[in-house]
């Protein structure tokens, strides 16, 4: 299982990559393995403002429907429209082409409180939830 060092994580298996005042958000390798073949991604409208922990997106595999929560508060400034045609990018490249959305950070302090790779590895080892 791949858990890149440079990213931040939530216990709900989202990852965050900070780029300036924005955060690129996706789901982890562990999450996509648990989900299995992803067949549908419901993206939020650009411009939507979310609080940390609110539902951001819904990812559906053949058998499962899974919520993706906003790991940080802020405004959705970009979504990965490629997932509408190719939802399996989430399986193939969870940290790359399978990203879900970009959130403009409302409070950069939230990022510091997220899990680092070692802490997230512990969460994943326990089997998640």
């Amino acid at each position: 299982m791949n858990i890149p060092k440079e990213l931040k994580y939530t216990k709900d298996h989202e990852w965050v990559r900070v780029e300036g005042n924005t955060a690129v958000v996706g789901v982890t390798d562990f999450a996509q393995l648990q989900l299995g073949d992803v067949v549908f991604v419901e993206l939020p409208p650009v411009g939507k403002t979310l609080k940390q922990g609110e539902p951001l997106s819904v990812i559906e595999s053949v058998k499962a429907v899974s919520d993706v929560y906003a790991p940080v508060s802020g405004k959705v400034v970009k979504v990965n429209a490629a997932l509408e045609e190719a939802p399996d990018l989430v399986n193939q490249s969870p940290y790359g082409e399978g990203w879900v959305a970009v959130i403009e950070l409302a409070d950069s302090g939230e990022v510091d409180a997220l899990l680092d790779d070692a802490a997230y590895a512990g969460v994943a080892a326990e089997g998640g939830h």
Binding site: G36, D37, V39, F40, E42, V58, E60, S61, V62, K63, V65, E84
Partner: protein
């Protein structure tokens, strides 16, 4: 109740199967992945552990007359070594279960029932048999079952048996043949919409048979297959799943299985109710639909048309062989017409869909 393990449980874990609970049993939902396994069954072959299925023996001189009152299809049509699919109904026409009847002899039948329903069916059958000259035995724990499904199933199995497999026709069985040196009951049946076989064996032989079939089949593309693709395969072929397309509240006539209800054979549980539905036409009908706008329908989602709810989704999924999001829904009969526009309520939003023909998938040839 603790979930039970089939004799193949350790084999599944060793092979990397992801174990889930289904119908009171611990079984693999997938090995390599649902789409990959699905595709293997459609184009080559897949091997399933279906040892969770229940088996009930009905023997004795009243066997046939008892079964005729118990189930809706006509058991009298069976010859020895022939298999029949049939619903089993309550007097009000609701469905107790759907099952296979194997005629082993004039007074000797094997019923194969859904795992989650085995205890309920057994109690129901015992109650219905009161006063009849039949002997009943729940032999579910004495039988393990493997399903080898897919266009290459016959070729794979022919490496393991001397029997002329091409002579075994669809919905027939051989009561005692040797496969990989083990005695099995072999039937040409399945739940995937593909050609294939089901092997009923001693639980002690299940692992050996599994390994032997895998060894013979893997070079030809055989994959171990889990419950996940079993569901997508049966869904594309529009084979009903109890608890979804059939239930105590859904009759076989509503579910589009009227051809398995035979009023002419005489009295049986549910006859009056089912005849009334057949004559007047059922108020609700099971219809296939395709999503028009983006979204995946799931079981129990409300279905709308003309501004009101007209039914619910019984099964909905991405259909791997068709690369479409499809569904089955039980809707008011007036809306179960090809081309009808409907909407599926997905997380509070109405998403456009359209009634389409069933089955979604039909294999070429037979």
């Amino acid at each position: 109740m603790t979930a039970r393990k089939t004799p193949l449980y350790e084999t599944h874990v060793r092979a990397g199967g992801r174990i889930v609970e289904f119908g009171g049993w611990l079984l693999p939902v997938q090995y390599a992945g649902i789409k990959e396994e699905h595709q293997a069954v459609r184009t080559k072959a897949g091997l399933f552990d279906v040892s969770h299925m229940g088996e009930i023996l009905v023997q004795g001189e009243d066997s046939l007359s008892f079964l005729q009152t118990l189930v809706t299809n006509d058991v009298a049509k069976l010859a020895d070594n022939q298999v029949l699919y049939t619903p089993m109904c309550y007097p009000d026409g609701g469905t107790v279960d759907d099952l296979l009847v194997y005629r082993q002899g004039p007074n000797d039948y094997l019923l194969v029932v859904n795992a989650a329903n085995t205890a309920k069916d057994w109690a129901w059958i015992l109650e219905q048999a009161e006063g009849k000259n039949v002997s009943l035995e729940n032999v579910s724990d004495d039988i393990a079952q493997l399903a080898l499904q897919g266009p290459l199933a016959e070729k794979i199995l022919s490496n393991l048996t001397e029997e002329p497999l091409a002579a075994l026709k669809y919905y027939w069985f051989w009561p005692e043949v040797t496969v990989a040196g083990k005695r099995v009951l072999l039937s040409r049946t399945g739940y995937t919409g593909e050609d294939g076989f089901e092997l009923y064996c001693d639980p002690g032989d299940a692992t050996y048979l599994w390994e032997a079939i895998m060894a013979a089949g893997v070079p030809l593309g055989l994959m171990p297959a889990g419950l996940g693709c079993r569901d997508t395969l049966r869904f594309e072929a529009c084979l009903p799943l109890y608890g979804h397309e059939l239930s105590a509240a859904i009759s076989p006539v509503e579910a589009g299985l009227g051809m398995f209800v035979k009023p002419d054979k005489g009295a049986f549980n549910g006859r009056e109710a089912l005849v009334a539905q057949k004559t007047a036409g059922p108020k609700r009908k099971l219809a296939g639909f395709a999503m028009v706008d983006r979204g995946v329908a799931r079981a129990d989602y409300p279905v709308w048309a003309e501004g009101r709810q007209i039914g619910h989704v019984t099964t909905g999924s991405y259909a791997p062989s068709l690369d479409k999001n499809l569904g089955l829904a039980l809707v008011e009969a007036a809306f179960a017409v090809l081309g009808q526009a409907i909407e599926v309520e997905i997380r509070g939003k109405l998403v456009a869909a359209q009634i389409v023909a069933k089955p979604f998938y039909k294999r070429e040839g037979k």
